[in-house]
Amino acid sequence: MNVWQQLANGVIMGHAYALIAIGWTLLLGAARLVNFGHGQMYMLGAFMAWWATKATGMPYYAAIPVAVIAGAVLGAVMQRAMLRLTLQQNLVSLMIVTLGFGQIIEGTAGLAFGVKPRMIASPLNETNLHWGPVLLTAQDVAVVVVTIAMFILLRFVMNRGLAGSWVRMVAEDPRLTQLAGVNVAQVYLGIFAFEGAAVALAATLVAPRTPIITSMGFDEVIMTFVVVVLGGVGSVAGSYVAGLALGVFSAFFGALVAPAYTTAAAFLVMIPIMVLRPGGLASGGGPSR
């Protein structure tokens, strides 16, 4: 086994997990809700990018904003439909409704894009970089760089900006936030639009590394769930660390044991951690941490 290569794979995969999870981190931290349609939104983002390059012939770099905008719109539409449940903090119903949304997205995507595996044509994926014993593509590097940039940006906005403090206020007490003259419905809409845009951005960067298929959403939502829960509900830094740890763990587990059992193994690790530290790795973490 090439340890350095596995470590690099793990770091890249970890950043991919973290980037895919960033929207959900904010969602869970702020709106205190889960989105089990998240994986299908990831799938749709990937297929939007594939479709944009294939059907219109636009370059990969132009397809990224197309997918991101589509993701933001989808997130906003979902939130609009669920607004009443969100304001009531009716978590069980929201969980089921988002699962349903995911199924609708998956079914529609199957009809629209077919069931065959596709490949997003990214020029970054064609560029190989050798670094000692490690072989990377420019796509891998882009995943890592964009993930780090997105986490820094999110942390900065949450801690410094007015929008960030509104999100934190909504996270703590939506009713009280209304009394500060903040349009809470709009804040929720913004959070969902961010979630949709962020997962679509993740898809355009991560998905070109492997073939995509319209049924791939479920696997993504499972890994995202592990990252967000391990990181500590809504903790921005915690999600980054958890994503990275999960990536490195998966890479070595895959190389040493068997790739097929990686997801099961991730859960095996998660369960004792949740028992020992119910708050996740970043216990006591609010959405700002």
Binding site: S165, R168, E172, D173, L176, Q178, L179, G181, N183, S288
Partner: protein, 251 residues
């Protein structure tokens, strides 16, 4: 002159009969009016209803005018932006934020509100205790400090009319009067306040006008001097409490 706040046929329902039903209430500008009544008389429901705000599934009907402008159909956050502020009962601060963050993240919306709004420093001048604790998390504050912070946050929004729901609850007797006098000072500077207060004796020290609520209805109201002799007030709130016991809880 237009009244700062005018309420007409306000009724708040939680599904059955109205919990609160108030025919008419007018507050001229620069007036401090008190709302008193027994526990469960509907004082909180009433002031929350004026804003159209609730933590539960309340239904509010009626007309509320702010400086003459009808607020019907206008959502809560927009009413707040126009200057109708509520400091609700209890812990009306964001515990996970520091004192300073609580104040800084609460900002006036629009030019007009900006002109009326307190700066963070001015809030600290009004409540020096908050300045000392500016870096502390709001969750670590005492009850009195939280009330100061809650009021300070509202002042940051540039209120025309402030609805204060029991700001003195849980405060030491000495602090109750200090807080009420601070509110009085704000009114003297031009603010209009509707103050819910359980401590009738203390409220009478500072208010101009008093409303007595019973089972969701105003059963008596008038200038505080006249109300002092009202038999219903005397009997229920003043007669049974010894004069030296200013903090006497009235239920």
């Amino acid at each position: 002159m237009t009244a700062a706040l005018e309420v007409q046929s306000l009724s708040v329902t939680y599904g059955g009969d109205p919990a609160v039903s108030v025919d008419h209430l007018v507050l001229p500008r620069g007036v401090l009016a008190g709302v008193v009544g027994a526990n469960g008389a509907g004082k909180s429901t009433f002031v929350n209803g004026v804003l159209g705000w609730s933590r539960g599934p309340a239904r509010v009907s009626g007309t509320v005018r702010l400086d003459g402008a009808d607020l019907s159909g206008i959502p809560v956050h927009e009413r707040v932006r126009r200057g109708l502020l509520l400091v609700p009962e209890g812990l009306a601060v964001f515990g996970t934020m520091s004192v300073e963050e609580n104040l800084k993240s609460t900002r006036p919306h629009g030019v007009e509100a900006q002109a009326r709004a307190f700066t963070v420093d001015r809030v600290f001048d009004l409540f020096p205790r908050l300045a000392e604790r500016r870096r502390n998390l709001a969750a670590s504050l005492s009850g009195g400090e939280r009330q100061m912070l809650a009021i300070g946050r509202s002042l940051r929004l540039g209120p025309r009319v402030m609805l204060l729901d029991e700001p003195s609850i849980g405060l030491a007797p000495r602090l109750v009067l200090t807080l009420l006098l601070t509110i009085r000072q704000l009114v003297d500077e031009g603010l209009t306040v509707l103050l819910v207060e359980q401590n009738v004796r203390a409220a009478m020290e500072v208010v101009d006008h008093l409303y007595l609520l019973e089972r969701g209805r105003v059963i008596a109201d008038g200038p505080v001097a006249a109300m002092r002799d009202d038999p219903r007030i005397v009997e229920a709130y003043l007669g049974s409490v010894r004069p030296d016991n200013a903090s006497g809880a009235v239920a």
